[in-house]
Amino acid sequence: MTGDGLEPGLGACDDGRVILEARGVTKVYRMEDVEVHALCGVDLQICEGRMLAVMGPSGSGKSTLMHIVGLLDRPTEGSVMVEGEEVSHMSANRLAAVRNRRIGFVFQSFNLLPRTSALANVELPLVYAGVSGSERRRRATAALERVGLGDRLSHHPSQLSGGQQQRVAIARALVTGPAILLADEPTGNLDSRSGVEVMGVLQELNSQGVTTIIVTHDAKVAAHAERVVHVSDGRVVEDERVERRVIAASTTLGAGTGTVR
């Protein structure tokens, strides 16, 4: 937590490499002859192993930015590099493979498959990675244990609390061992206690080396990160280092997710 050389507006990583980079990313939606500029030339560099928050009010374009750097959406202009590789022009199937192996997603509304057990939900990315059944079960179980749900393997989402559902979603995101975890308002649908729990899990994972990006409108959530990028009207308006970082594990006793370095 000492000086990382994070200057506002710059993403230079002095002790690591740039794992995810957006260059001049513009996104224009066309709605009944009206062009809506969701993003206007965003440059962003994200350093390997760090925890970043993208903050902004609703409609600022922060979710669009996350979808584009998460390869769920394509920029109208500009390019996205994942681990130094240009991905903007890849085919849909190659993008799917990159998402599968290198990026994990956590959504505000969890996005778990209903009527499907926690274990099967977590196994899903492994199914598409072509992992065999027994190996899948082993890895999915391990991922669920990692988020503290080792005793909820066969529960369906409807039988789990919001916080537990979000932890299943986190387990699903990390089961393929991705280098990057993207979380879009991960605490948005949770009560404050569950929210802290989930942030604790994310910090724990980040401490184990997973580059974590959190999109939020909530300054308290953003304070869990090391760096906050403020987005407004489709532009990065501020890039700051968090001075007094919140450590979730110390705010609650119930989370039991260990410590952050």
Binding site: A96, F105, L112, L124, V127
Partner: protein, 397 residues
């Protein structure tokens, strides 16, 4: 992603909507069952009729004074009979064939029968005293008309089972009198029921001596000449001889059918009929297929979010496509198998009343057709699902 995995996903999706899956399958079940059942009936009826004809023996030939066989396609006039056979023609054939065959001149004509207050329409089948050798009916009681009765033109008649039941219900007809076209006849025999067959109802016939028939019909003509070869192997030779004997008077206006030919024509006709029935049933299969497409489209839009989730975690276009195609194919194949079972079972039950024959090709056809229906009608919804934009799909509520 492995095929087994796709199957598992599809099966889970079908199980999640059991009622809907069952109703969707019902369309295919009914379609396949209908195809199998109708083809079974068609095949069964054909086999039975062909069997009946074969039972008559393959050594029969039928000569008609018209060109049914040749090109005769010159429009409706092709079957016009320009000149009828007479007894001399039959005698000429008999002389030519000598002992190698039995030659029977036959008259077939409509008639009105009456006994007491009962009246009915029927058909006269008249031959010589040797007619008993070529007519197929089995005597139930009584005797066939004798040579003397034939020569003398006696008013004696043998009646078919239908005629007996209509005119003489619950009584012994032998020795009773009846009228044919207003002439009094003595019933000397009646025959066993044979069931319906090719040339109308063979049971609705009355058998009289040819000479008598010519007199009451006031004609010198005969309808056809029936020839029974002593040896079945000689049929083709005899056919040539019959043609040779009749050619001087009839030229090309002459047809000599063998039993085999009749069989072939009939079997072809019934086969066409069966295919037609199968085609009609196939339409219901098509409707079932459209039902599958409909449900799959509903399913795709209902599961848009699921598709988005799957894509977000790394499903490729192919994975989504195969998931939905397999789902549709499973619906149709399971439906097809249930339909095949139902159709086969139905055919077994129907056997009580109708001859049915479930054939392997009908089963295979129905099965593969239903699988094809699944693929065909499943591809479009699956393609629609697979091309969804992941972020659009995730946003879908």
């Amino acid at each position: 992603m492995s095929a087994i995995e796709s199957f598992r996903i599809a099966l889970r999706a079908l199980a999640a909507n059991k009622g809907r899956s069952a109703l969707t399958m019902l369309g295919v079940i009914i379609g396949v069952a209908a195809v199998i059942l109708l083809v079974a009936i068609g095949t069964g009826v054909r086999d039975e009729i062909v069997g009946q004809i074969e039972g008559l023996g393959s050594n029969l030939l039928f000569a008609f004074p018209a060109d049914f066989e040749g090109g005769g396609g010159g429009g409706g006039g092709g079957l016009a009979i320009r000149r009828q056979f007479e007894l001399e023609d039959s005698d000429r054939v008999a002389r030519r064939l000598g002992k190698s065959a039995v030659v029977v001149p036959v008259i077939q004509a409509p008639a009105v029968l009456k006994a007491g207050s009962r009246t009915m329409r029927s058909t006269i089948a008249a031959g010589t005293d040797r007619g008993v050798e070529v007519f197929t009916a089995d005597l139930a009681d009584g005797r066939f008309y004798s040579r003397g009765e034939y020569v003398g033109g006696a008013r004696v008649v043998g009646i078919g089972a239908t005629v007996r039941d209509e005119l003489f219900p619950n009584t012994d007809p032998i020795g009773k009198t009846m009228s044919i076209n207003g002439q009094r006849f003595l019933v000397i025999s009646h025959f066993e029921a044979q069931g319906g067959a090719l040339s109308g109802d063979q049971d609705n016939q009355v058998y009289l001596p040819l000479s008598t028939a010519q007199r009451i019909l006031n004609t010198r003509n005969i309808s056809m000449i029936v020839i029974k070869a002593e040896n079945a192997e000689d049929v083709e030779l005899i056919r040539a001889q019959v043609r040779a004997a009749l050619r001087p008077r009839f030229g090309s206006d002459l047809s000599v059918f063998t039993q085999e030919q009749t069989l072939g024509i009939l079997s072809q006709l019934l086969g066409t009929l069966t295919v037609m029935l199968a085609g009609i049933a196939g339409i219901s299969l098509l409707v079932g297929g459209i039902g599958i497409m409909n449900i799959m489209l509903v399913s795709v839009s209902e599961r848009t979010r699921e598709i988005g989730i799957r894509k977000a975690v790394g499903a490729r276009t192919y994975d989504i496509m195969s998931q939905f195609v397999i789902e549709a194919v499973m619906l149709s194949v399971i439906g097809g198998m249930l339909g095949a079972g139902l159709g086969t079972g139905g055919a077994m039950v129907l056997r009580e009343w109708v001859p049915t024959q479930v054939t392997g090709w009908a089963l295979a056809l129905a099965f593969f057709f239903s699988a094809g229906v699944g693929v065909f009608f499943g591809v479009y919804p699956a393609w629609k699902a697979s091309t969804l934009d992941p972020i659009e799909a995730l946003r879908y509520e």
